[in-house]
Structures are given as C-alpha cells and as structure tokens.
Amino acid sequence: MIMRNTQRTQKIAFFFLFLATLLIVIPVGMIVVIIFQKGIPAINWQFLSDIPRQGMRAGGIYPAIIGTLYLVLGAIIFALPIGLLAAIYLSEYAKDNLLNRIIKLAIVNLSGVPSVVYGLFGLALFVVFLKFGASILSGSLTLGIMILPIIITTSREALESVPQSFREVSLSLGASKWQTIRHIVLPNAIPGVLTGTILGLGRAAGETAPILFTVAAFYLPQLPKSIFDQAMALPYHLYVISTQVPNVDEKVRYGTALVLLTLVLFMNLVAIIIRYNFRKKKKW
C-alpha cells in the first residue's frame, strides 16, 4: 500500500515537472509560428531591398536592416577589444583585492541595468555632452556599453577554462607571462570569446530602448553616409509602424518582426555552431 502511494506521488510529481517544462516551449513555439505565419507573405526581394514608401505603409525595410547592421558592427568594434582586454586583466592579472572586487561587482551590476537607462545615459553622455548628436556613433557606443558585461563575463569564463597546467608548462619553459597569455591562453579561449560576443550582438540587434534617444530615426529617405548620421533600425522601425503610423498592413509589421527575429536567431545559431565545433576539436 505504501509502495503504491510512493509510486503515485512520483507519477504526479513527474507530470507537473513535465507540464512546467512544456509551458516554456509553448510560448517560444507560438511566437515563432505566429511571426512566420503572418510575416512570410510580406517577404520578397522588394521588401528586403527597397526604402519604405507611402508613409512606411508599403515599400521595403532596407534602410532599417542596414541601420541595424551598422549599429551591431559599431557596437562590436567598440565592445569586443575593451571587453576582451578587461577580461584578460581580470582573469590573468587581477589580484583578489578590494579594487578588483569592486570592478567585478560593477560588471555584475552593469548587466542588470535596464536597457532604457542605457538609452538615457547614452543621450546624456554621447549625444549631448560629447556632442556626437543622434548618430550611429552614439547608438553604437550605447549598445557597446550595454553588451560589455556579456562579453567580459563570457570571455573571462573562456580564459579561465584554459587549464592552469598549460600556463605552468609555458612559464616553466621560460616564456613570459604575456607570451603565455598571447600564445597559449588566448588561442584556446577565442571560440568562447566569439560565442559570447555573438550572443551580445544578438541582444544589441534586438534592443529598442538604447537606440531610441541616441540614433534611431523615425523615417529617412536615404541611407546614412557617415557615422555622424542618424539611421533607421529594425526594432525601432517595428515600434513605429506598430504604434505611430495608422493603417499599416499587418503583414508589413509581421514581416519586419520576422526579419528581426531571423537576424537574432541566425546570430545565436552561429554562436552555437562555433561552440559545437570547438567542443568537438577540444583536445584536453
């Protein structure tokens, strides 16, 4: 009798655990299905390569795609070197003292700051104080700061996962600490660093709030010509045509969402492939 009770309790527990897990899959699946279903009819060559026409109710979203790519590229140029160098310092050189503990705490907190706060910060620092204006430069720098903690944290993990014994061998052969980092630690950490960077970029591509005040244009008839120009961007464009412009065809909105979603999913896919290939090749 006791046995049967235990069995039944176990079955009930498993059922609820499974149900909870299933609940995670359902919204993800539904988002993808609905966006694809409603967005696919809008996707054609003109949609991807033309400028918006008739008050953004027709034409394409080419400037927004290009704008997002510029912003993502700008963010990586800024955030990857700084993030990687900071990660090297923290993982290889930093001693466990008060200053370094404060730095680590700051990084953790930086990743918890709401994205709209980054937007306001970018507006105050880059747009107003440094007089970059609303521009690709300001937007890229703001997005770069936002993804710095992601890049630093994943890069640190990648560096620290390189076995200590490799460092000892290199040092024992008379190589300097920097040579050891440069020739042994970094090459083996690069795939992890790349994975983190791409995940950060996926986040940067999808955010609206940080670019709202720093770069995003409501509508531009031509592409940006320099880093001091404003640009359109996919997330903000989606917001505009969904809330600010009346009578936009539903399929245009879902088409835009589909392009954005595909871009972000594609980046995540690349990150997964890099990580998978590295794990397969890993030799220790």
Binding site: G174, H183, K283
Partner: protein, 248 residues
C-alpha cells in the same frame, strides 16, 4: 661544483607551513632523488628551484636559496626557468603540433630562423628517444601520441631550451613499466650533461637512478645521503620505515 645551495629554507602557502628549515646542496651533474609520502613537501621543494611556487597567491618564503652562487630571487625569472627546466607529473603537451611543442621554448626566447628551429627539434627528439617514432608526423597534434610518447615529448621540449638543470616531478606516475624504463634510460644518459632533480613516489626508481637520495616527511628533510647508504643503512628510523613500506 654546487648548483643549488639551499639554507634554512621555509615556505608557506597561506597558513600551511610546507617546508621547514630545509638545508640542501645539489651538485652539478648529479641525480638527486627525492622520496617521501604525499604532502611531504617534495613537489613544493622542486617547484622552489624554478620558482613555480610564486604562482600561488599566498606563497611566502624565508631562508636562502642560491643558484650558481646567485640569490634565486635576483635572477630574472624567465632566465632562471630557461636554465632550470621541468618535466611534470602527467604528460602535459601544449595544444600544438609535435613540432611546435618542441619549438615553443626557443621561439619564445626569440629564435626565428626556421632551419635552426628544425635542427633543435630534431636534436631534442633524438635525445629523448622519440625521433624515430614521430619523425614522419611532426605536424600532427601532440595529443595523438600515447602517454609514454607524450612524456618523452615533454622531456624533449624541456631539453630544447638547453637548460642546465632538469626537474622531474614524478615523471613516470602515469606510465606503464616499459615507458618508465625508457624515461629512466633517458635520465641516466642525460646525467652526463645536466643536473637532475627527480621527485618520485616510486622508491625503487629512486634506488635505480639516484646518485643521492633525500627523504622528506611532513615538510622536513629527514635524511639526505648516497643512495646506497639510504637503501642499505639509513640513519633515521623513519627513512627505514618508509623505504620498507611501513607507511606512506
């Protein structure tokens, strides 16, 4: 000629007093074996000689440690490690090809000429009795080699930078008897040109290859004498107990 002159050496890792008032002289071209149970301080002693202990964040030392009549702390650390090479307990190839593993040290020391590097790689692999087994596949990953081959690769890699002293830290602990015999053979031949300090868990190995043998226990150097003396008539009862296998 004295290579290392160590007087009243004490070291700590945080609260742990790992070596207690150790006094040793290590002569040129001798093989000094160091035996003792785990946690006796023998590896900590070995890692003093190329200052690898400095990597520990809470390492402290007191006492006197001279290499070629020079305070070891005053020697540039990269130069010291170039002159005092080390072979680790487990075979630890770097994630590079066989060739690049051997060439790593000299390249880091600034040797650029490809033909000179190739010469050094060939000479070092021959010295470690590995050349014939790998000469046709120098560009494959060093991880493709067997455990015994990897350990001889590590010896070759250490030899390539032409050290004066080689520290062996339980070099055969992961190897089968045949590979062990090959490594020991290499050590005996190397004695002619190098000073060797061998830490080993294998008492018989110390008896086979050491000119002198030191017995460490709980961070103290209990006894240091000619190997025959240690193994036939040790003066300390603890040494006697250890080599007879009564503890450890």
């Amino acid at each position: 000629m004295v290579k290392f002159n160590i007087k009243n050496l004490n070291i700590w890792f945080g609260q742990i007093h790992a070596l207690k008032s150790v006094n040793v002289e290590i002569g040129a071209n001798e093989i000094l074996s160091i035996i003792g149970p785990s946690n006796s301080g023998k590896t900590s002693f070995l890692r003093m000689l190329n200052r690898l202990n400095d990597l520990h964040p809470e390492f402290k030392m007191s006492g006197w440690l001279e290499f070629d009549n020079e305070d070891i702390r005053k020697i540039n650390i990269e130069d010291l490690r170039k002159r005092v090479g080390m072979v680790f307990a487990l075979p630890l190839p770097l994630p590079l090809s066989i060739f690049d593993n051997i060439a790593y040290g000299v390249k880091m020391h600034g040797l650029k000429r490809r033909d000179r590097v190739s010469e050094i790689v060939e000479r070092s692999l021959k010295q470690a009795y590995l050349w014939d087994e790998v000469k046709d596949r120098l560009d494959v990953s060093a991880f493709k080699l067997s455990g015994g081959q990897q350990q001889r690769l590590c010896i070759a890699r250490t030899l390539a930078v032409e050290p004066e002293v080689i520290l062996f830290d339980e070099p055969c602990s992961g190897l089968d008897p045949i590979s062990t015999a090959k490594v020991e053979e290499a050590m005996l031949k190397l004695k002619k040109d190098y000073t060797i300090v061998l830490v080993t868990n294998n008492v018989k190995q110390a008896a086979r290859v050491g000119d002198r043998t030191a017995f460490f226990l709980s961070g103290e150097l209990v006894e240091l004498d000619k190997t025959e003396k240690i193994f036939t008539a040790p003066s300390d009862t603890r040494t006697d107990g250890y080599i007879r296998g009564k503890f450890g």
